[in-house]
């Protein structure tokens, strides 16, 4: 079913058509963890696993889309090149994308555009990261004009501070409780125990929260996702390539939508890492806020709506943010997110499981790899290969996240 797409941007540029489907031929990951080794090492493991899964030789890859990391020196800024060199130069076409947390989805979009334009038939999308300990901090140097530097220097506004402002709104405006947030962690940790790629494979209970220290009130350490090392890769191709290779398209996982969406002025919701919102004094805010519009753009591309979704991987940077995504995706009305987790609707076995991989809660965030890992998980779920955390009969999966400074991304895959 479709959704009402009357509001917001004109939709003519993303007509719904099966002609724009691409096929996911293979997916691969390096497990998430915290080892501090060279990120390229992790990327190679993911790349080789994806190539093996696709049964495609490295030399046959025509386009390499790298998702960049900004905390690993120059090789991280040119990830497409770095991974191509590590796997052995083949003269392929490349791109390197940075879009904060949306970098992986941006790389996927880059490859998708190349394939849909007919410039290549088969592509690798790859991202890997090695992260420092503790809070994410701005990159080094005194950069007084950089809003990311300013919010740390002038305000001490860490990432969890923003998650907490949002969580406080949920408590005071919707009547959510800290226990509702904890239930998200309980649910995700239960799923993550069974995921061999997850970093934290321990089941948490509500009782564990009482002894978890407050980071940014009302959020505790267990409410906030960690920063991790990890890598993920996808091999995607045109339907023609897949048909030549497989003999049929039946049963293949299709990419139906990749939306990389900006906010619409005025963006009146205070979002990481902004010191202030846009002003609504003169210009009327759009009907749909930024995070709503990311999902709506993807639904529009896919010709699908919230009722069609069998499972979703959402960016649970904090437990409370996962509840926001339920509402942004249209899985429930605004303010009703907590009810879904309380009623088990979003647990494996529920009506629409969310984060059956275990989510960022079980992985921690490896920025450029994370959005790609979300699509790896959807692929395995749709293929019935998510052993131990399988969503039975899943046909339609959605992954969504939000990069700093208004880089939204949402991917929809079907089988």
């Amino acid at each position: 079913m479709g959704v009402d797409v009357g509001a917001g941007r004109p939709s003519g540029r993303c007509l719904v058509s099966d002609d724009r489907d691409l096929v996911v031929l293979g997916a691969g990951m390096h497990p998430w963890g915290k080892w501090g080794r060279n990120f390229v090492e992790y990327g190679l493991v993911a790349a080789r696993e994806a190539l093996a899964d696709a049964d495609v030789a490295w030399r046959d890859i025509e386009f390499v889309a790298g998702a960049d990391t900004i905390r690993n020196g120059y090789p991280g800024f040119v990830a497409g090149s770095t991974f191509s060199q590590a796997l052995g130069w083949t003269g392929a076409q490349i791109s390197s994308s940075y879009a904060a947390c949306a970098s992986g989805a941006q790389a996927l979009q880059s490859a998708r555009a190349q394939l849909l334009a007919g410039f290549a038939d088969v592509a690798m999308v790859i991202g890997a990261d090695t992260t420092p300990k503790g809070f994410f901090a701005p990159v080094g140097g005194e950069r007084k004009e950089d809003p990311d530097w300013q919010r740390f220097h002038l305000l001490g506004a860490t990432n969890p501070s923003f998650f907490a402002l949002n969580a406080r709104r949920r408590i005071d405006v919707f009547g959510d409780t800290p226990d509702d947030f904890a239930l998200v962690k309980v649910k995700n940790s239960k799923a993550g125990v069974h995921n061999p790629y997850a970093r934290f494979r321990k089941e948490f209970t509500l009782e564990d929260f009482a002894s978890s220290p407050i980071v940014s009130d009302p959020l505790r350490l267990l409410d906030v996702c960690a920063t991790s090392d990890g890598a993920a890769a996808l091999i995607i191709c045109t339907p023609e390539y897949a048909k030549r290779k497989l003999g049929t398209l039946e049963g293949t996982v299709r990419i139906k939508a990749v939306a990389n969406t900006t906010p619409t002025y005025p963006q009146v919701r205070l979002e990481l890492p902004d010191i202030a919102t846009d002003s609504w004094a003169v210009v009327t805010p759009p009907t749909h806020g930024f995070k709503d519009s990311i999902a709506r753009n993807a639904y529009e591309q896919a010709g699908l709506g919230p009722d069609d979704i069998d499972l979703a991987e959402v960016y649970d940077l904090s437990t409370a943010l996962e509840l926001d995504w339920y509402e942004n995706l249209g899985l429930c009305e605004v303010g009703e997110g907590a009810k879904l987790v309380r009623d088990g609707v979003t647990a494996i076995g529920g009506r629409v499981p969310v984060n059956p991989s275990g989510g960022l809660s079980s992985f921690g965030e490896a920025i450029p790899a994370q959005a790609i890992a979300q699509v790896c998980e959807l692929t395995w779920q749709l293929q019935g290969r998510a052993e131990g955390h399988q969503v039975e009969g899943a046909r339609v999966g959605l992954a969504i996240n939000q990069g700093l400074f208004g880089h939204g991304s949402c991917t929809i895959v079907t089988r």
């Binding site: 809070f135 406080r168 940014s216 009130d217 005025p266 002003s279 004094a281 003169v282």
Partner: protein
């Protein structure tokens, strides 16, 4: 050392003499507001103006949300030692249609705050620089009763 002059931690974002106000920018063509202040292009996509002028913002607003940080942020924040938890508030200015983040005045913690509460701009020392000069920053402080002594 005491000095009357308050040296801001960032130039041009707030006044350093009473009554303290934040300074935003306003578009001379469409009238929209911007904070932090800047020059150059108006952020309104339907306005091509490049005339953004500094303008004082309302001194008072209402809390949109708040939090309290219990861990020292990483540099470039200059954390006090030993670290003391502090509150942050995102405050809605009705006239300008803006929500602006700020630290809450020292000693006022999350338990003292609620959404919708009226607060006003004040200043406090953010850190002392390498030359021993106190650097000041804006804060949100519980609003004094209108007309009363502050």
């Amino acid at each position: 050392m005491t000095t009357k002059e308050r040296v801001p931690a960032v130039d041009g974002w707030f006044t350093t003499e009473e009554p303290y106000t934040l300074i935003g920018a306003r578009c001379g063509a469409c009238g929209t507001y911007v904070f932090p202040p800047r020059s150059g292009a108006c952020p309104n996509p339907d306005c091509a103006s490049t005339e953004l002028e500094p303008t004082p913002l309302s001194r008072r607003g209402r809390i949109w949300s708040y939090t309290e940080n219990h861990y020292a942020p990483p540099p470039p924040y200059v954390a006090a030692e030993p670290f003391e938890p502090y509150a942050l508030a995102a405050v809605e200015l009705e006239e300008e249609g803006l929500v602006i983040l700020g630290q809450v005045a020292k000693g006022v913690m999350a338990a003292d705050l609620e959404i919708g509460m009226e607060v006003e701009v004040d200043l406090q020392v953010l850190f002392t620089d390498d030359e021993g000069v106190d650097r000041w920053v804006w804060t949100w402080a519980p609003a004094a009763p209108q007309g009363g002594a502050s």
